[in-house]
């Protein structure tokens, strides 16, 4: 904004109330400077911009279109030894955020696997279509579509089970080196356990019979790994303010858009001080403002809980240090004998010497009126350690954590109409530490539904000159409650992330990455039909069946027609 409208940063105040979702689309700056300039033009009166749904879908950014050409090499025993890929991302009219998406899709092309030879070229392409930007997954739903389908097809060619081929190739924490040359940390998570938990939850040997003989059922899986895609200096900061009634105010930079990060951060504060959650207020549930909230790089990339959380823990430590300093003088004990937890400040060696935390909020006031210590205001700051840009070969150390995860589905395919129905779904993520279980379940389920949308229904249609043909919610179909008639299981593993807040990692985007490939793999397992294109809407699946395995269609139609023989006309 400062660049665009020519004001210094501290003369611009941005207020961000809780938003109705974001999912990354609100990450880039687009229309906002225009509104500021319009206000200037009309004598500094307030100006409000509202885009209609049609305007949103024709001129505000969306997710990139994506084409992948891949070549993969496997040894007979299933070892994945070489992966060559070319990615083309449709950036639309402006070379904006999609450049980063293209870069990320490129350097993360190897997903959760240890592939010794990786060669990826990733292009962001100008077209005269709607501009594209960051969207949940940031290149990973795209590159995992190519990768996870490749694995299942290789498994089929080699005669190896899809779970087994993944087991053989998963990255080994502490040992493996990624395509970027970055060593996988020891505390990155437990991908083998993710896979085995997924396999178990899916009950691979148990597939219910399809509801009718012209339908088939099968299971499909996809594994995934993602790190926040951010510059090497993406920082976070936090401030913790104690109030005299024992309540605490928390300020960090991450915005609230339903993803639950503010709640999780508040939980951390409540845990660390040992006070009820109701006593913690994190102000982004009302409004994040650049005037009151400290810096965080952006509310994107599944980085909020991790980065802001670390900064917050440091702020909490800082606040506690201040309390301990004051308390040591009040209790007349050495500083390192003072502990702050469980709602109290107390002497470790003489625990009956204790006071409530609130007595120190504004400094400690003695009976004679003297006051020591002053108001407690904790501050913390975090920046990734020794992260670098990637060099011209795509090598460098540019991640702060990876979360491993997996999605599996049992799907039923109608061989006559091409319709895909989900029967069961499983989501598994190694989150490091479950801080807010309800939030995690909400992300796992909600992310699945969003993934279901792009897997089965969602498609922006263009005519030959680049006009959007379906800028409305009638013909751009978004999942509704009637599309969720299936069972979903969520499993969260807790392999701690040593530097994560309470050991936690992020999962905001991971929850949708595996959905489309898992469904495509289910279709492949059920029919042998290779689906390469999204969405997997009925017509597209039908066309592939007719083109690749026409006999499946004809047999299905015959079995359907034969059920008519059971009907007798009056």
């Amino acid at each position: 904004m400062a660049d665009a409208i020519g004001l210094p940063v501290n003369r611009i105040i941005v207020h961000a109330p809780p938003a109705g979702g974001g999912f990354g689309l609100k990450a880039g700056l687009g229309w906002e400077p225009l509104v500021a300039l319009l206000s200037k033009l009309v004598g500094r009166k307030p100006v409000k911009l509202v885009l209609s749904r049609a305007e949103q879908m024709t001129s505000a950014p969306v997710r990139d279109g994506f084409i992948a050409k891949v070549k993969a090499g496997f040894k007979k025993d299933g070892r994945f030894v070489a992966y060559q890929a070319e990615f083309y991302l449709d950036a639309g009219a402006y070379a904006d955020y999609t450049i980063n998406v293209a870069r990320t899709a490129g350097y993360s092309a190897d997903g959760a696997y240890d592939i010794p030879n990786v060669h990826v070229k990733s292009y962001a392409v100008y077209t005269n279509k709607i501009p594209t930007t960051a969207m949940r997954g940031f290149g990973h739903p795209e590159n995992h579509w190519a990768l996870e389908l490749t694995l299942d097809r290789a498994a089929s060619v080699l005669g190896i089970d899809p779970v087994e081929i993944r087991r053989k190739n998963l990255l080994k924490p502490g040992e493996s080196i990624r395509a970027t040359g970055e060593r996988v940390r020891e505390d990155e998570g437990d991908p083998q356990k993710v896979l085995s938990v997924l396999a178990q939850a899916l009950e691979p040997d148990h597939v219910d019979k399809p509801s009718e003989p012209w339908k088939v059922r099968a299971k499909g899986i996809a594994l995934l790994a993602k790190a926040p895609s951010q510059p090497p200096n993406a920082g976070s900061s936090a401030v913790v303010k104690l109030n005299e009634d024992g309540t605490i105010d928390v300020f960090t930079g991450t915005g609230s858009m339903g993803q639950g990060t503010p709640t999780s951060l508040a939980i951390i504060v409540a845990e660390e001080f040992g006070i009820p959650l109701e006593k913690v207020k994190i102000n982004q549930l009302e409004m994040v403002s650049t005037d009151t909230n400290p810096y965080t790089w952006q509310t994107v990339g599944s980085r909020g809980l991790f980065s802001d959380g670390i900064a917050l823990l440091r702020a909490i430590e800082d606040a506690k240090d201040q309390i301990k300093d004051t308390a040591s003088r009040v209790f007349k004990v050495p500083i390192d004998d003072v502990e702050v937890s469980g709602g109290y400040v107390f002497s470790k060696s003489h625990p009956w010497i204790r006071k409530e935390i609130k007595e120190f909020a504004n400094g400690y006031t003695f009976d004679d009126g003297t006051c020591i210590g002053g108001p407690v205001i904790g501050r913390g700051s975090y920046v990734p350690v020794l992260n670098t840009f990637l060099d011209d070969n795509g090598h460098g150390s540019n991640t702060v954590f990876h979360t491993f995860g997996a999605t599996a589905v049992e799907a039923e395919i109608n061989l006559i109409t091409g319709e895909i129905k989900i029967i069961k779904a499983v989501q598994v993520f190694d989150v490091g530490k479950v801080i807010n279980l309800m939030g995690l379940i909400g992300q796992a389920d909600g992310g699945f539904i969003m993934g279901l949308g792009s897997a089965l229904f969602e498609e922006i249609k263009f005519d030959d000159s680049g006009w959007v043909l379906n800028p409305n919610l009638t013909h751009y179909y978004v999942p509704r409650i009637t599309d969720t008639n299936f069972e979903i299981k969520e499993k969260f593993l807790e392999t701690p992330q040593k530097d994560g807040p309470l050991g936690a990692r992020g999962i905001g985007e991971h929850v949708m990455i595996g959905v489309a490939p898992a469904i495509a793999n289910a279709v492949y397992n059920a029919t042998g039909v290779k689906i390469n294109e999204l969405p997997m809407k009925a017509e597209n699946i039908w066309r592939q069946i007719i083109s690749q395995k026409p006999e499946l269609f004809y047999k299905a139609f015959q079995s359907f027609e034969s059920t008519l023989k059971e009907v007798t006309a009056k």
Partner: protein
């Protein structure tokens, strides 16, 4: 045609609210060429928001009690112009005119059905609407009124094309009349990746008269009506032989359109599937 609206507002118009049918007919004769009737208003508001139509006058039906009536007698079902679709989701309608019941259940969603009307859906005249195919298969007729006259016409031929209906500027549809006969009927809709159906089938089988009306909707600009005579259906012979004839008829006579929703080939596949499903449903007979 839903392409998306860049407008939040409606064009300017004058709103009038007659209290009786006579008042309504007066307005129509005065303003007819510049007026549109607002029944449920859903289709009207959608078109106006996209500036596809811009009438000077909007004549609301919401204060005319007579038009909100459903009249049921032994011979007919009369549905007034301002009866909301949700009122048609009743057990009585399900039993007496099942084709209509199932068609209504497939229109939009329950909340829209609280607002929209059957007459409104019919008058919208878009190929993917559900009212017209259902009414065709039920041999419905329309009562059309204008100042000084009132006529009944069969519903067949009412829709002439996309957005074109056989109704003069000073006329309005006051009710839909359905003859009541012993029937079994169904309405099936195939929608995928869109709220609109890409293929629909309405089938009404009058089992005492040994006659059926099969209507294929959403696949061409106007629905295709096929009755048993067209196909050479022989009620005395095997169902499988009849189905062969029906399949052959569809193969040679039905050419679905290519559009945003679907290709012609896929539509043909689906319409065959839906048709056979409808036949199966309607011709299954459980002896009491």
């Amino acid at each position: 045609m839903s392409f998306g609206s860049a407008y939040f507002t409606l064009p300017k118009f004058k709103y009038v609210k007659p209290r009786t049918v006579d008042e309504l007919l007066d307005y129509l004769s005065k303003y007819g060429s510049n007026a549109k009737i607002m029944s449920g208003g859903v289709g009207l508001i959608a078109f106006m928001k996209e500036r596809l139509i811009s009438p000077e006058y909007i004549i609301s039906l919401s204060s005319i009690p007579e038009l909100k009536k459903i009249k049921y007698s032994e011979e007919t079902f009369e549905i007034g112009a301002n009866v909301h679709l949700s009122e048609l989701e009743s057990d009585l309608i399900h039993k007496t005119v099942p084709t209509l019941y199932k068609a209504v259940k497939n229109i939009a969603d329950p909340t829209i059905r609280n607002m929209g009307t059957l007459v409104g859906d019919l008058a919208e005249a878009i190929p993917w609407a559900d009212a017209y195919p259902a009414l065709l298969s039920l041999d419905a007729s329309l009562e059309i009124m204008k100042k000084g006259s009132c006529r009944k016409v069969p519903v067949n031929g009412f829709v002439e094309g996309l957005g074109q209906i056989n109704l003069k500027e000073d006329e309005f549809i006051s009710k839909i009349i359905l003859p009541i006969r012993k029937m079994r009927g169904t309405y099936l809709k195939f929608a995928n990746s869109s709220e609109y159906g890409l293929a629909t089938v309405a089938l009404t089988y009058l089992y005492e008269e040994e006659r059926f009306n099969l209507v294929l909707g959403s696949i061409t600009e106007k629905p295709i009506v096929i009755n048993n005579a067209d196909v050479g259906w022989d009620f005395k012979s095997d169902l499988s032989k009849n189905i062969e004839k029906l399949n052959a008829f569809i193969d040679s006579n039905v050419n679905p359109a290519d559009d945003l929703l679907s290709s012609s080939k896929f539509r043909k596949n689906i319409i065959k599937y839906l048709t056979l499903q409808a036949i199966k449903e309607v011709f299954s007979y459980e002896r009491n």
